[in-house]
């Protein structure tokens, strides 16, 4: 459960703004190959600098630096244990929920330092939504209540707003047509693929700027997977998406940029088409062609 769903005091950290993000026009040509940092657009959605994450004495991420472009899909690939999920969770400060977790370095969300001591993690988690591998709708709640739980926890009570936002979010998640006649049915009555889209709708309802997805389709059949992938391609028009995936062909299908991690380090980061047709590093080539180890 995304721990953003608690009421908290607003700090000086500005709230999320709905609609199109304040991001420049996207270019398709990244920086010189091999650079750890992505294209030099004016303001990247996420600017990560020398990120290190420790669990106790164990260093899980080592000096990771890259820019995540706004309104694009960035895929994070790498073998198990390479730090992909830790990287994702550090973007919305969820690793802080793990005891003995510690980070160093800087992460800026549209040029605002999300680790500034004055910033509440819950605020970050509202601007940076997350969808998990195993869909987790609240089992005791209806479909509609699942969508609006974040809003209601943030104090939104007006029925018309909730209704409107429910429909809007479910439409954005390509689920509206399938559930509009049974919004009060239990969420667990939905299929696996539908539940996952419901979780996406729930994340979208609080109008985040960035959507993090940790292997969102790995538990789904090919048809449901295709629907999620199509949805991601639609969503990237308005949202910045970072997706961890084990499926290289999926990354090749839906992402604009791909970052390859290994043993906690960022090995290569480039336009997806280059990573999958002609990677610069032999390690990347070995991994994407399945000849690793």
């Amino acid at each position: 459960m995304n721990a953003a769903m608690t009421t908290g005091e607003e700090t000086n950290f500005p709230p999320a703004r709905p609609g199109p993000q304040s991001a420049p026009v996207r270019t398709d040509v990244p920086a010189p190959r091999g650079a750890a940092v992505a294209p030099k657009t004016a303001v990247p959605a996420l600017a990560i600098r020398r990120l290190c994450v420790y669990f106790g004495a164990n260093q899980v991420l080592k000096e990771v630096s890259l820019d995540i472009q706004a309104r694009a899909v960035t895929a994070i690939i790498g073998p198990s244990g390479c730090g992909k999920s830790t990287f994702l969770r550090s973007i919305n400060r969820m690793h802080e929920l793990i005891p003995e977790a510690r980070m160093e370095g800087e992460i800026r969300l549209f040029d605002q330092d999300i680790y500034n001591p004055l910033v509440e993690p819950v605020i970050v988690r509202r601007r940076v939504g997350m969808v998990f591998q195993k869909s987790n709708p609240f089992p005791t709640m209806s479909i509609a209540d699942n969508v609006t739980v974040g809003l209601r926890l943030n104090g939104v009570r007006t029925r018309s707003v909730l209704t409107e936002r429910t429909e809007q979010s479910l439409r954005m998640a390509a689920l509206w047509d399938e559930v509009k006649d049974r919004l009060h049915a239990p969420a667990i009555s939905l299929s696996g693929g539908q539940q996952q889209r419901l979780c996406i709708a729930r994340a979208l309802a609080v109008q985040p700027e960035v959507l993090l997805m940790d292997e969102p389709a790995s538990a789904l059949d090919p048809l449901a997977t295709a629907k999620i992938e199509d949805l991601i391609l639609e969503l990237k028009r308005d949202y910045t998406i970072v997706i961890v995936t084990h499926n290289m062909q999926q990354a090749a299908r839906i992402s604009d940029f791909t970052a390859f991690f290994y043993l906690g380090e960022l090995i290569e980061f480039d336009a997806t088409r280059r990573i999958f047709t002609n990677p610069a590093k032999k390690q990347t080539e070995d991994y994407v062609t399945g000849r690793f180890g």
Partner: protein, 222 residues
């Protein structure tokens, strides 16, 4: 990865078989011309179907391998193999054309000793051989070096064309023979073009750079 690697090796092997058949066909066709050997020419024509079959087989293998969603250098190898096989099949067709025309030429007395055509054939075959060796040995530099040589073959073809045209005007009884020789020279010029294509594909395979249509072995603007 063992199975997939074996399948890739098998694809490469088929391509190399095709390459040696194509080169042999051209060699034989030129030999048939120079030695006025109709039996040899007939062999070239009969053996062309082997090249056609191999092109189809390589395409089939390629599609099946692509359906396994290969990436990076595997992906480039498969697409390049499919393209090279097409060029080799066309080389085989040109060899057949040369063989057919040499049979026609052997029906009449030889105009003069063949000097330029064997020379063109040598140049074109060396280009093809170098491009294919570059493929086998992973040597894109060697492949790049093939491309400028195409111009020489083009110039020689044009020169021959001019000479044969003058000859035909002076001596109309030689027209049939001159036209056949022009066709043979044109076929050799096309073989050099196909060798150039193969060289460009080899550069793409090993460097992931597309140097097609630049004429000088240079990269496309990105």
């Amino acid at each position: 990865m063992i199975h997939f690697d074996q399948e890739l090796a098998s694809l490469k092997e088929q391509l190399l078989i095709m390459a040696s058949l194509a080169e042999a066909a051209v060699n034989k066709a030129i030999k048939a011309l120079v030695e006025r050997d109709d039996d040899l020419a007939r062999q070239v024509k009969d053996q062309d179907s082997a090249l056609d079959r191999l092109e189809i087989e390589i395409d089939d293998m390629g599609i099946i391998l692509l359906s396994k969603a290969p990436l990076a250098s595997d992906l480039r190898l498969i697409t390049v193999a499919m393209k090279i096989s097409h060029d080799l099949e066309r080389v085989g067709d040109e060899a057949t054309t040369i063989a057919r025309r040499s049979v026609e030429l052997s029906q009449e007395p030889q105009l003069k000793p063949y000097v330029d055509i064997p020379r063109m054939a040598r140049m074109a075959l060396e280009m093809l051989d170098d491009a294919l060796n570059a493929f086998v040995h992973g040597n894109p530099e060697k492949a790049r070096a093939v491309i400028p040589r195409d111009r020489e073959v083009d110039l020689l073809n044009r020169q021959l064309h001019r000479e044969l045209s003058s000859y035909m005007i002076e001596k109309p009884t030689t027209i049939t023979r001159c036209l056949n020789l022009m066709v043979i020279a044109k076929s050799l010029e096309r073989i050099a073009d196909h060798a150039t294509n193969v060289a460009e594909e080899v550069v793409y395979l090993y460097e992931a750079k597309d140097i097609r249509h630049t004429g000088k072995g240079q990269d496309q603007p990105e």
